[in-house]
Amino acid sequence: MEDQSNEAVDAGIYEALRIVKPSLADEVLTPKTRFNTLSLQSIDMMTVVFEMEERFGVSIVDQQLDTFRTVEEARETVQKLLHAKTSQPSV
């Protein structure tokens, strides 16, 4: 799960978006895509973050890190959290 490529994380974020809003399957999503251009209601965006947490096994909301505006920023948050996981000694 840990140490994923940027492309893999982006793909996971696109997948989370398309679960919450299936019509995004028809839209081109890129790292520069801004979430506020996708006509998502607040509950939709919360669910996108929930789906990201599911996919990557990280906790974003509890650490109040759900402040990203673009896919790229979301990816950076996810990568930081994934990296923190790998650097923690396993007990």
Binding site: I19, V20, K21, P22, S23, I43, M46, T47, F50, E53
Partner: protein, 406 residues
């Protein structure tokens, strides 16, 4: 001053199909939708008779983006409401927004979604829930979607008295129009309880049949769970007349009562009191009623006590009535039951046919009225009753007359 209230539109999703035509065809052809149904969840499995809605394709009715937030019970309500509004000749934007109410019944809300969340939480031990869980499963979700669909901004709420919820909802909507609170209402109810946890809960109370639903019959052994929704458009008589709407029936009265006796064991006095109250409001005598669409669950106790209640309320006239339970055809849809069954009652008034009580094997000593056994019964039906009873001993009765009499 009170206003007169009429039904100008009906809509339905049931195990007999999508739409009121499918419902009526199933009823008069005595074609039961009850079938052995296998439910699987979290590696557990149970097969019991049930009446699920089949042939309902969500994407035929909603966009893919609308579905993640809508449990089946809310989908049924919206689709039935669309049919009812179309039938009433009212479209989006024609509702007199603030002067229309949405009052719907639901006993359990998003049962499917809640069950899946429980599996995740306790079975898979995943602490975080989907942010959509609450708005998707709460009992008022269907009311919210119906109000949004038709841009209704008037009083909108859910009534949650289990198996009587939709009948209570219609009673409430009727009284709101009658007393001038609003001019129109979208009312009825829906439920989607064909879920393993619901089956196991009802089975534990020993009310579920393991064969089929045979109300008022000898050898009856319980109820069968169904799903769907039934919706009516109620309207002030004058407003309906002004726009030349077709009138299915006038709602003349609604009676409600509590047994104040037991959570699960009904007493005949409660339903009889609700019938008397409904007739009083309707200003009708007992002998003016022709047909009763019964609660008729198919349990030993309900059908015996319901028969006693009818005899208590109607006296000698009980023998002249036709009493049938369409639950034998579309299952017991709990909070949707009063909606679907009131639609069935309105169609019985329209066509002059009492729908049958199917799966009937023969008379039972405790149930000795005319139940229209196995075959639809053509007969004159001027005035009909719809009655529903719920756990808790809560009862609701509607009086519907086909013709608007001056």
């Amino acid at each position: 001053m009170t206003r007169r209230v009429v039904v100008t539109g009906i809509g339905c999703v049931s195990s007999l199909g999508v739409g009121t035509s499918a419902l009526w065809e199933g009823l008069v052809r005595a074609r039961t939708a009850i079938t052995p149904t296998r439910l699987v969840q979290a590696g557990l499995e149970v097969t019991l008779p049930a009446a699920p809605v089949t042939g309902f394709v969500p994407l035929d009715h909603f966009t893919a983006d609308e579905l993640p937030m809508r449990d089946a019970f809310a989908q049924y309500a919206v689709v039935a409401a669309r049919e009812a509004m179309r039938d009433a000749g009212l479209g989006r934007g024609e509702t007199i927004p603030g002067d229309t109410a949405v009052v719907l019944g639901s006993g359990g809300g998003g049962e499917h979604t809640r069950e899946e969340a429980a599996v995740r939480l306790f079975g898979e031990r995943k602490l975080r829930c989907s942010p959509m869980l609450v708005p998707k499963t709460n009992n008022q979700a269907a009311v919210g979607f119906v109000s949004m669909e038709f841009q209704v901004t008037g009083p909108s709420f859910v009534i949650s008295t289990g198996c009587a919820a939709a009948t209570h909802a219609i009673a409430q909507a009727f009284h709101m129009i009658r007393h001038g609170v609003v001019r129109r209402a979208i009312t009825g109810g829906s439920e989607a309880p064909v879920a393993l946890s619901v089956f196991q809960a009802f089975d534990a109370a020993r009310v579920l049949s393991h064969t089929t639903c045979r109300p008022f019959s000898r050898e009856r052994d319980g109820m069968v769970i169904g799903e769907g929704g039934g919706i009516l458009v109620l309207e002030e008589l004058e407003s309906a007349r002004k726009r030349g709407a077709f009138i299915y029936a006038e709602v003349l009265g609604a009676g409600m009562s509590a047994d104040a006796s037991s959570s699960v064991y009904p007493r005949e006095q409660g339903p009889a009191q609700a019938i008397a109250m409904a007739l009083r409001e309707a200003r009708l005598n007992a002998d003016q009623i022709d047909y009763i669409n019964a609660h008729g669950t198919g349990t030993q106790v309900n059908d015996r006590v319901e028969t006693m209640a009818i005899k208590l309320a109607f006296g000698e006239h009980a023998r002249e009535l036709t009493v049938s339970s369409t639950k034998s055809l579309h299952g017991h849809t709990f909070g949707g039951a009063g909606g679907i069954e009131t639609v069935a009652t309105l169609l019985a008034l329209k066509h002059g046919v009492a729908p049958p009580t199917v799966n009937y094997l023969g008379p039972d000593a405790d149930c000795d009225l005319d139940y229209a056994p196995n075959d639809p019964k053509p007969r004159r039906i001027d005035v009909a009753l719809k009655q529903s009873f719920a756990f808790g001993g809560l009862n609701a009765v509607l009086v519907l007359r086909r013709d608007v009499v001056q």
